[in-house]
């Protein structure tokens, strides 16, 4: 079976926020970082990455600034805004609640019913 998992709808924004919360990143960097922190388990559809970045910037959750990349190319770097940080915290908490609830539900055995 393929070791990469499909993204659940709505999780892309959360992953992007998480990625840029660690360190300012350009778009390609976000892609690599998500791959890295998910230990290659999550593959971002590249066509959706940029619209998502633009949407988050539009919502004031991330801020963009032009800079120079590690191999000296002009690149646009994204950082988390305070609003983005709050959103990430809220989404993380929400996700954890959901995940543990689903895990608990799925781990239920017939004796516990």
């Amino acid at each position: 079976m393929d070791k990469t998992a499909d993204l659940l709808p709505g999780t892309l924004d959360m992953l992007i926020l998480k990625a840029v919360s660690l360190k300012p990143l350009h778009g390609y960097g976000v892609l690599l970082r998500i791959r890295q922190i998910s230990r290659d388990a999550l593959e971002i559809p590249q066509g959706s990455l940029y619209p998502a970045l633009y949407r988050l910037e539009h919502q004031d959750l991330i801020a963009a600034e032009w800079g120079v990349s590690e191999n000296n190319r002009r690149a646009k770097f994204y950082t988390l805004t305070p609003a983005g940080r709050r959103r990430l915290r809220a989404e993380t908490a929400g996700w954890n609640r959901l995940a543990s609830a689903i895990a608990a539900a799925l781990n239920t055995t017939s004796e516990e019913v």
Partner: protein
């Protein structure tokens, strides 16, 4: 939220930066990805190909990014606008018609609204204007609706009405300003000390009047308006303390009012204290307002009009307890009314203005219906195209949006043109006596009205799109595709809609036409009223003899004698006279007269009559008719013998069955001693004093001028020349007697009569203009709908003619359709005209709400216009060639 708006705004205003940034960013991504793939061992070309595949179509990504920014809405709108503009350009006839219709209809509304806004809506330019009220005495049963307030009223009320924060009085007047030899007559106002505090705006420089300055001898002070200070004092910063001569007496300037200060519609350029003697303020003078002194008051915060009214009523009741006149005043229905200042000031013109706005709105409605119809017809013409597009997957919202964008573009452009028309209209209205409306001198198109007009045109665009959207979306696609190709009849519902539009248009235009007819007829009837004298070839002008140079009656009589002799010798002068108040002067103040030996009938109240003081050959100069006895002559003013002439209304009221000659009349409401009585020596015809449309038989008494205690007189000259040509000669003649005496308000009697009808003429003219436009619009509407019907049924007509139908039959078929629409519209229009006539009753003069002649005339005009509009389309229908019609498809 704000951040998002900023983000959209930034992206829009720096659109190129946005696009370039996006391209750069995506290119960077591709290069990095390619590099990584090469590093992983792929050949560069293969790596680049894979990178492109991973990212997907660049244009799609960009589109998604723009959408994430909310930019796609703007792109879409721009595309739609371009498309709409192209469509509008493709049908120039329709576009130009629509734009002109909108420009005229919106312009007319804007013009009238600007007047309404200035006169009725905009609050008075004082702090908390809602608290300003006016108080006036009324004696309705004596025929005196409005008598201002007396000095006594003022001094009695000041500080005694808890609901009033302050009370003030004012009196307009004229004064001669300047040194001997270079005098000018200026409009002035005399005001009580607390006047400026009451209105809430006082001198910008210097101070207001004090209480001491409202007593004779200590009233030598003046306050200038900003305009007067600028023009006559060259904006001298040290104007305070300078002396000016007013009616020959020195006055010290103590203040200058702020720029733009204007009390209601007053033209006063100087303010003086309203000074009086203690004997002018006694209870005996309580009812001597005479409508020259007016009272204003400022309500205390939280106090209501009703509280103020009841406090005034209570005070009046208490004061009249020991007043010997109380019974008589009660019989006359005496009351003091408290009413909001602004509403009271504009009350007379309110119904007319609202009526005109209603007319303009109807015009707009006709225009909108016209546009809706024309656009609907065009939408039907594009039915097939739209059906094809929808069949190919065009989204319904998109189709609807397209219509909205197109009509809004049209109405917005029309609205802009309408602003221009409105601006012209306001200037035009300035020439049509709008300036003489209360508060009407500064009618302007302000940014607020302009923005409201543009918003309204945008809203109109959306409304106009509604029938088109409905028509486009409700149609069954397959049917639409077929029905056009088969050349059959269009949707029944759309046809009914079109026809009902035409019917309502005809009805509205009919209503407007009938309304204009009523106003016109009313004006004609008013113009047909005889003023009671021969008004051709009369020149009138006003002279005020200042108290300083003419302190007593002898001096004033001497002036009148000299003036009459001198003016009588001028070439072209037939006769000349003087009178205290000329007919239609705008002053219709009345005073009481008592008849010797008369015991009032039970329930009868004393009456107000016009009182005139005449000198020279006034009766001859005015051309009054003599009913009995003789007129007063110049000689009567030289004698001590007291004689008078009454008019026929007066005679009929007091002596219906006996001769008035030899009867005794007293000036004032009391019967005095015989020595004070005036013997009636003649009866003259009645004169319209207040206006041609004033129907009340008020009654008038003419006394000799030497019994007059006032220096304001009108010169009345009958001439064989055109009266205006005599103006300069008359002024020169007066200056030769007294170089300091200007003659003002020089107008011929014909001009006075015309001016007195301005408030009837201008609305009638405007209504006529509106209905003319409405007729044109209706003609365009009927023509458009009928032409469309002919074009639609071209094939059917062709078939019928091929089968033997005669052109005559085809023509009459379309003609009868037009006539049915006309009949329906007229029937509805008659109902509308009746309702309009009823709403107009207050502004009509001797015209009933439903006048058959006017209805018939309106129907006739409407019929001629409709027939004319239908002739060409019917004619064209009859000339369709069967061969061509059938060969076309």
């Amino acid at each position: 939220m704000l951040g998002r708006i900023r983000s959209v705004f930034r992206a829009l205003t720096r659109r190129r930066d946005f696009e370039e940034g996006m391209t750069d960013e995506l290119r960077f991504h591709m290069e990095e990805l390619t590099d990584d793939l090469v590093r992983a061992g792929a050949p560069r070309e293969e790596a680049a190909r894979r990178a492109r595949m991973e990212l997907g179509s660049l244009e799609n990504v960009k589109g998604d990014c723009r959408e994430a920014r909310g930019l796609h809405w703007f792109d879409e709108l721009l595309r739609e606008l371009r498309y709409a503009a192209r469509l509008l350009r493709k049908t120039p006839g329709l576009t130009v018609t629509a734009l002109l219709t909108l420009a005229v209809c919106l312009g007319a509304n804007l013009t009238i609204f600007a007047v309404i806004d200035t006169v009725l809506l905009r609050p008075l330019p004082f702090p908390e204007p809602g608290r300003l009220v006016t108080v006036f005495n009324t004696y309705p049963k004596a025929g005196v609706e409005r008598d201002g307030s007396s000095l006594t009223n003022y001094y009695e009320r000041r500080g005694h009405i808890p609901a009033f924060a302050s009370v003030a009085i004012y009196r307009y007047g004229k004064a001669i300003i300047g040194e001997a030899g270079s005098t000018e007559r200026e409009q002035i106002a005399r005001v009580s000390a607390d006047f400026f505090a009451t209105v809430g705006a006082g001198p910008a420089m210097g101070r207001a009047f004090t209480e001491q300055e409202t007593t004779f001898q200590t009233d030598g002070v003046a306050i200038l308006t900003d305009a007067y200070w600028r023009t006559r004092f060259n904006a001298d910063p040290h104007a305070i303390g300078r002396q000016i001569r007013v009616d020959g007496l020195p006055k010290t300037v103590i203040g200058v009012l702020p720029a733009g200060f204007r009390f209601l519609s007053s033209e006063a350029s100087l303010y003086f204290p309203l000074a009086s003697r203690p004997e002018d303020r006694t209870p005996l003078q309580r009812h001597s307002g005479g409508n020259t002194i007016q009272m204003i008051a400022r309500l205390k915060p939280g106090a209501t009009l009703a509280q103020a009214q009841s406090q005034i009523d209570t005070q009046n009741a208490n004061l009249e307890v020991d007043d010997p006149q109380a019974k008589m005043m009660a019989d006359a229905g005496f009351r003091s009314i408290v009413t909001p200042l602004h509403a009271d000031h504009v009350a007379a013109v309110r119904p007319t203005l609202l009526l005109l706005q209603a007319g303009a709105l109807i015009l707009l409605l006709i225009g909108a219906v016209n546009l809706a119809n024309l656009l609907l017809i065009r939408a039907s013409g594009r039915g097939k195209e739209l059906a094809v597009r929808q069949a190919l997957g065009a989204n319904r919202w998109h189709v609807a949006g397209e219509a909205v964008v197109e009509t809004s573009l049209l109405t917005l452009a029309g609205g802009l043109l309408g602003l221009a028309v409105g601006a012209c209209g306001i200037r035009l209205l300035g020439g049509m006596a709008a300036g003489r409306l209360p508060l009407g001198s500064h009618v302007t198109l302000d940014a607020r009205s302009a923005l409201a007009a543009l918003a309204a045109s945008l809203a109109l665009g959306v409304v106009l799109a509604a029938p088109i959207v409905w028509f486009n979306l409700r149609r069954h696609l397959g049917h639409a595709l077929q029905s056009v190709s088969r050349g059959g009849t269009s949707g029944r519902a759309a046809q009914i809609l079109r026809h009902s539009f035409v019917v309502s248009q005809i009805a509205l235009a009919f209503m407007l036409l009938a309304g204009a007819g009523l106003l016109g007829l009313s004006l004609k009837r008013a113009m047909g009223v005889s003023p009671g004298f021969r008004y051709d070839h009369i020149l009138t002008g006003q002279v005020s003899l200042p108290y300083k140079n003419y302190p007593d009656g002898a001096g004033r009589v001497a002036f009148v004698e000299t003036a009459m002799a001198r003016i009588g010798r001028l070439p072209g002068v037939l006769s000349a006279g003087v009178i205290s108040n000329v007919p239609l002067s705008g002053n219709s103040g009345k005073s009481a007269a008592a008849v010797k030996g008369r015991i009032p009938r039970p329930g009868e109240s004393p009456r107000g009559h016009y009182s005139y003081w005449v000198g020279g050959d006034y009766f001859g100069a005015l051309g009054l008719s003599l009913r009995a006895g003789r007129f007063l002559t110049a000689a009567d003013s030289r004698k001590a013998e007291r004689v008078c002439v009454v008019d026929e209304d007066f005679a009929r009221y007091y002596w219906p069955d006996s001769s008035p000659l030899g009867q005794r009349v007293f000036f004032g409401s009391e019967q005095g001693s015989d020595a004070e009585a005036f013997t009636v020596v003649g009866v003259a015809g009645s004169v319209k004093q207040a206006g041609l449309t004033d129907d009340t038989a008020q009654g008038a008494v003419y006394y000799p001028y030497n019994f007059r205690d006032d220096g304001d007189i009108f010169l009345v000259v009958r001439t064989g020349l055109p009266p205006e040509a005599l103006g300069l000669t008359l002024q020169k003649a007066v200056r030769q007697i007294d170089p300091d005496l200007p003659v003002t308000d020089l107008r011929s009697m014909e001009t006075r009569i015309a001016d007195s009808l301005a408030t009837r003429r201008s609305p009638a003219l405007l209504a006529g203009l509106f209905s003319g436009i409405a007729l044109l619009l209706t003609a365009i509407g009927s023509y458009g709908v009928l032409s469309y019907a002919v074009a639609q049924r071209r094939r059917e007509i062709g078939v019928r003619m091929a089968l033997g139908a005669r052109p005559q039959q085809i023509r009459s078929q379309f003609f009868s359709l037009a006539m049915r629409l006309l009949a329906g519209g007229t029937a509805l229009g008659v109902i509308g005209a009746w309702l309009a006539g009823r709403a107009m009753q207050t502004v009509l003069f001797h015209v009933p709400a439903l006048n058959l002649a006017i209805l018939a005339a309106a129907a006739g005009v409407m019929g001629v216009v409709s027939v004319a509009a239908c002739l060409w389309p019917s004619h064209r229908a009859a000339r369709i060639s069967p061969m061509e019609a059938l060969a076309e498809e």
